[in-house]
Amino acid sequence: MKARNLLVGLLFLGIWSSCKKDPEVGDSYAYNPEPYNLVLPNNLGWSSFPIPADNPLTNAGVALGEKLFFDPILSANNTQSCASCHQISNSFADSNKFSIGAFGQVGNRAAMPLFNLAWTDKYNLTGHRYFWDGGANDLERQALGPILNPVEMANTSLFDVVARLQNHAEYPSLFRKAFGSDSVTSVKLAKALAQYERTLISSNSNWDKAERRQRLRTQSEINGMVIFSTEKGDCFHCHGNLSSPYFTDFGFHNNGLMANPKDSGLFRITGRPEDFGKMKTPSLRNLSFTGPYMHDGRFKTLMEVIEFYNSGTQNSPTVDPMISKSFPHGGLNLTPPEKIDLLNFLLSLNDSSFVVNK
């Protein structure tokens, strides 16, 4: 009888301990599709952006994407993460003219800054959206490009990358938490990175604060705004009008950088002669952090950029009409004070809160 009581006691202990253990083991890694609370800017002009039905933002997915973004495990020799060339302090651009790859290879284009990306899906309907040359039509596909590019992370196969993640102590659990299964795939990798990138929203510049009536614009900024948004500077045709807070038209243009464009740009993707030398219009936000400028990083300072548009643009068969229309007048003919005003307007688009670790 005693022995039996003991057995029953042990039995209950067994039940109790198993009850206690089971829910705890791996609980923090259980699949959790809790939606990510995306806070969109509330200035006038900002809109929501489409999120792909097959890749909704979740807390676990964004967190996984962020961890992957900063992890050198993605490069062939475990030396380089996305953040190596997309540094927070540079508004996720690279301060190098050309980014240096995992093995020290020198690339041929400047790394683009990363913010407010997903509006591209809404406003660019061409299917050529990301990269300087429009080579990716969604952020998921874009994310795989640098991982395989021989001058960037230099993996020869996505299988290698997936295997490294699969063999990692924690990643399989994090993939389970985000996507419901331990199995790592390149698709889930791309989805996680894209989720994180969609959360990179920069909307707290002095310009935004002025839009929200939280500060007054300086007179010089106002003068610069006028130059920007009128035929005088004619920046707005490509960089968006003032009622659009993105400062890009999400399109592609040949801005007259070279008489014989060395980089074929959008042409590489479309094969259409009229696209030769066209590059993606970058946003004008956060310019103080994103230099050097242009796809080839040729200009070190914003004044060099302004002077280029003022007097340095060159003709070529595909040059944008908004650029070539100033040729007969020998350029824009901005006066030195006008250039300063334009600069001050551009500087008002800096969002210093975006370039610090959160």
């Binding site: 196969s157 997936v162 795939t185 698709v187 479309t270 094969g271």
Partner: protein, 282 residues
Amino acid sequence: MVNIIFFLMNKMDFLSLAQTKLKNLIFLVAILPLILVGCKDDPTPTPTEPGINSLDTLTNFTGLVVPKTGSITFSMDYQFAGVPIIFESKNYVNAAKDTFTINALKHYLSNITLTKSNGSKLNLGTYHLLNPQAPGSTIFTIDNVPAGHYTGMQIALGIDSTRNYGGLQEGALDPSWGMFWTWNTGYIFFRINGNASAGKSFSYDLGGSEHLVRVNMDLTTYKVKSVNPRLGMLMDVNELFQNPENISFEKDGYTIHSNSDGPIVKVSANMLDMVSVKFLEN
């Protein structure tokens, strides 16, 4: 019951396992009548649908009759001018007199669409990546093919635009297979490369939805009735370089990709007669 539990307890380390055993036992006892009933009912229900009956009795037909829901096993053989391909070592000569080896050949095959005798189309909707150097990949079975009388077939040597430009996908369309442009949008539909003469190599990565090749094949030269037929196809790689227009490395390029307008249009037109039905049998 308690005795049974304690009996099992002696054998097992965990109560949960014992409970599982017990549950299994109860479950088995509970479903036994169902299994028996199921066995008894099974043979009767199928041939009541009118359409299936007529397919079963159909004798005067050409093409393929699948009398009830079945499976078709598709396969592809690869030749160059009628001779099986030997990769890497053998030299081939095309109509433009280019000499070359074939080092790699991989392609997508999708949108297998069967034409019914009444003209309607049935897209089987699957995606396959075929690589003759990985022989298991060149034979595949599609299940749940609806009953029907089929007289023709179309395949796409590539991916339809929905999947080509849509979000990333797993399976045969997983970007890891390397048939995916990470610098351009979409999949590489068809890859062939090798060594050309004078130390040069050639590399054709064909793609782009506007260049998607859809090959039509007639099945009416066959007469097969089967629920699991086998349909063998034959790809003659020589046809990529000729008919209607010769492709020459010097003239059309040692590399052809989706964005090179002229040559890929010519190649795509040549590919229309690249695949034929080799056999259709029970």
